[in-house]
Symmetry: C2
Subunit: 414 residues, 2 copies
C-alpha cells in the first residue's frame, strides 16, 4: 500500500465537470489500495477574480486581508472535491491549512512553511479516509491565515508529502510533463522522461511554469520523489529524480529555460569599496525582495556601477528603496529597465562537458543577440538579454544544443 | 462614545461599489466617535453560486463540507470591506468566526452560538480599530467551521452586540424598516416606527424577511436594542424595543405576517392514547426538524388523526421518518400537503383587546377562505389555509384590522 500525495492545479479543478474527473481518477487510485492526500488549488480564474475585487477597491490592499480573501479559493475547491468523493461512496474529508495544521511564518502572501502537524492527517488516513487539503495556505503562530504566494499549492503538496513520508508526490497539471523548453516558443520541444532535482530547480527558477521553485527545493531537500503529469491525458509524465546517476545517458543539456519576469536596476557611481554590495542589497533583502542576477562593474576612479535584477512585481518597491538610499550610498543616480529577459541552458551534464558557455555565447552572437549580464552555476548558464530577442535566443539555443525533436542524437555533443 | 454593532446584508455588500458605500457610511460613524463592529454577509448571489456548485456535484452534500464551502462567502466580504476602510485611512481588521472566536454547537448548517470570546474584539476596539466580522459562521469545539443557517448574519450581529454590551445593534438591509405586512402584496402597507421584540419575533417566525427569527430571540433575551434600517436611503428605520410600555399608543395589531414555507403532514388513524404526540414528534425532533403548528383531532373509536407542519425543506426527511415509524405507531397511513400557507395577525395590543380571533375568522369567512388549522399565542393568531388564498387573506386582514395607509385611526378598534 503506497502513500501518495496528489496535487491538482486550478485548471484541473476548474469546473464541476473537471472536479468530477479528478474524483474519478482519485477513486481509481483509492480502489487500487493507495492511501491518498489530495491537495487542490483554487478553481482556475477564481484567484484572479478575488484579486480583481481587491484591485477594484484599492491599489494597495493589506497583505493580511488579501490572504484572508484569496485563501477562500482553495477552501471552495477542497470542499467540492470532498463532496464529489462522497458521491462515489468514498470516505473523505477536507482540511484547511489551519485545520491540518500547516504552520508558516507571518510573511503574508509569501509565507514559508515552518512545520506541518501530521497527527490529524495520519488519524484520518488510518480511518481509511482520503484527506483533501487546501493548497497555497497556512496559518501563522497567531492563527492568522497566510498564503504561500502564487503557485504555492505545489509547495503545499511536497511539504505534506515530506511530512507524512509519502512514496510519491504527483503534481497533476495541464501539461503532460517537463519539456526541453516552452513548446509555445519552440515547435520541436520534447517531453523529458526524467530530470534531476537540480536541473528542475534551475528550470523552475527560470519561470518554467510547470512547477513552482520552492516545491522543487522542498522535494529535493526531503528527497520526495516528484512526478509531473497531466490531469487530462494518460501518460507517465516526467519523474523528478534524486540523483543524476539514475540517468543512464545524461545529456549535456536538459533544457532551455527563460523568464520574462525580471527587471534590472543599476546604481551608478557608487564608491568602489568593500561592503558596498551589502549596503545596496541589505535594504532590498530586508524588504523581502529577492535578487537574482548581480553584476558589479570593474571600478573606474574609485567609482563603480552596481546592477541587479528583481522580479518585475517587486520593481516599484526596489526603486523606492534605491531612491531612499541613493544619498547615503554616495551614488550618483539609479536607473531601471524592465524590458529584459533571462535565458538559461540547464543540465547536470554540463559538469563533465567543457565548452558549454563558449558554445552558448557563440550561438547567440551568430544571431546578433547582445548579452547584458551573465550568471553561472555548476549546472546552468544564464544570460540577461533585451526582451525582444527572447524567442530568437531560445530557438537558437534549443537547436544549438541538439534538443529539437529528431535532432537529439546527432547534435548532442556539439 | 457609543459602541455600535452594524450588520450589512448581502445586497448592501453586493458589489465593489456598494462595499465602498458601506465603507463611507461606516467611516462617518467612526469619525462621529463611535466604536464599531461591522458584521457582513456574503456578497449577494455568492452563497447561491457556491450552493449551486455543490448542487451540480451532488444532491446530498456533506453538511460539514457545505459549511466549509459557503463560509468562504462572508470571508470574502469581510476582507474587502476592511480594505475599503483602510483606503479611507481607517484602521480596521477583519476576523473570521474562528478568529473571534464565535463558538457554536456542531450542527452543521444550522449551528447555534454557545459563546463569544470578547477579548480579541475588545483589544482591537481599544486600539481604535474597526473590527469587521464574518457573519453567519462560527467554529465548534473541534475547530470545525459551522454556519448558523441562512440569514444567520443577523444572529451573529446580535450575539456580538450582546457579548460586548453594545448600545445598539443596527441591521442594514435593502428595506427601510419593518412593515405592517409585505408591501409587495398590500399596496397600503406602512413602515412601523417601533415594534416590540415579541411582535417582531412573531413577524419573523412568519417568514417576514427583514430579520431572522433567532436574531430577534437573541436580541430580546439579551436586551440588545435592535434597529432595522436601509443601507441605500437615509431614515430612522424601525426600532425594535424592549418593552411594550414604551409604545405610547399600542395598536391592537402590529402587522399581518405570512409564510409559504411550510408543509403539512397528517398521520391518520393513530391510537388515541396519551403519549402519542411524543411518539410521533420525538423522532422528528431528534432529526433536528422544527415543528410549527400541531393539531390533534378529537378521537373517534379510539383512533385519531395527528397533523403537524414543518418547513418545506424538511418535508422529505419528515416523510421518511413517518414512513419508518408508521407501523410501530399503529397508524393506518400518512399524507402530506405542501400547498399550504400560514397567515397571522400579530400584536401585543391583542392582550387587552378581546375579539381579535373572532374578527379574524369572520373577515376570512366573508371572502370564502377556509381555515385548516389554527394556532394561537398571547400576541398572535395564525391560520393554515390553502396556498392559493394567501394574498387574498393577507389583504383582507390588513384592511380588516385597519392597517392600510390612511385607514389606521378609524378602523383600529374593529
Amino acid at each position: 500500500m503506497a502513500l501518495i500525495v496528489q496535487k491538482y492545479g486550478g485548471t484541473s479543478v476548474g469546473s464541476v465537470e473537471r472536479i468530477e474527473a479528478v474524483a474519478e481518477r482519485v477513486a481509481r487510485h483509492y480502489t487500487d489500495g493507495d492511501q491518498l492526500i489530495i491537495v487542490v488549488s483554487a478553481m482556475s480564474g477564481e484567484t484572479n477574480r478575488l484579486l480583481g475585487l481587491a484591485r477594484d477597491l484599492t491599489s494597495n490592499p493589506s497583505p493580511r486581508e488579501l490572504d484572508l480573501l484569496v485563501s477562500t479559493g482553495e477552501q471552495v475547491s477542497m470542499a467540492l472535491l470532498a463532496m464529489a468523493l462522497h458521491k462515489r461512496g468514498i470516505d473523505a474529508l477536507s482540511l484547511k491549512g489551519s485545520q491540518v495544521a500547516i504552520r508558516t511564518d507571518s510573511f503574508h502572501s509569501k509565507a514559508r512553511i515552518q512545520s506541518i502537524d501530521d497527527r490529524r492527517l495520519r488519524a484520518e488516513l488510518n480511518q481509511g479516509r482520503i484527506v483533501v487539503v487546501a493548497g497555497f495556505q497556512g496559518v501563522d503562530e497567531n492563527g492568522e491565515v497566510t498564503t504561500l504566494g502564487r503557485g504555492g499549492s505545489d509547495t503545499s503538496a511536497v511539504a505534506l508529502a515530506a511530512a507524512v513520508g509519502a512514496d510519491e508526490c504527483q503534481i497533476y497539471t495541464d501539461v503532460d510533463g517537463v519539456y526541453t523548453t516552452d513548446p509555445r516558443i519552440v515547435d520541436g520541444a520534447q517531453r523529458l522522461d526524467s530530470i534531476t532535482f537540480e536541473e528542475m530547480l534551475e528550470m523552475a527558477s527560470m519561470g518554467s511554469k510547470v512547477l513552482q521553485l520552492r516545491s522543487v527545493e522542498f522535494a529535493g531537500k526531503y528527497q520526495v520523489p516528484l512526478r509531473v503529469l497531466s490531469s487530462f491525458k494518460e501518460g507517465p509524465g516526467t519523474l523528478i529524480k534524486m540523483d543524476e546517476d539514475d540517468l543512464m545517458e545524461a545529456p549535456t543539456i536538459a533544457g532551455i529555460a527563460f523568464n520574462r519576469d525580471e527587471a534590472k536596476l543599476t546604481v551608478i557611481g557608487v564608491p568602489d569599496t568593500p561592503g558596498i554590495a551589502y549596503q545596496i542589497l541589505g535594504p532590498i533583502g530586508d524588504a523581502n525582495i529577492e535578487v537574482d542576477v548581480i553584476l558589479q562593474n570593474v571600478g573606474d576612479e574609485g567609482k563603480t556601477d552596481f546592477t541587479f535584477t528583481v522580479s518585475r512585481s517587486d520593481l516599484e518597491r526596489a526603486e523606492a528603496i534605491c531612491e531612499l538610499h541613493i544619498a547615503e550610498l554616495g551614488a550618483l543616480e539609479w536607473r531601471s529597465d524592465s524590458k529584459i529577459a533571462k535565458v538559461s541552458v540547464v543540465g547536470v551534464g554540463m559538469r563533465s562537458h567543457a565548452g558549454v558557455a563558449a558554445n552558448m555565447f557563440k550561438a547567440l552572437a551568430e544571431v546578433g543577440v547582445n548579452i547584458q549580464m551573465i550568471s553561472t552555476s555548476e549546472i546552468k548558464i544564464s544570460v540577461i538579454i533585451e526582451e525582444k530577442f527572447l524567442e530568437l535566443a531560445v530557438r537558437t539555443l534549443h537547436s544549438a544544443f541538439g534538443l529539437d525533436q529528431g535532432q537529439a542524437l546527432e547534435a548532442q555533443d556539439l
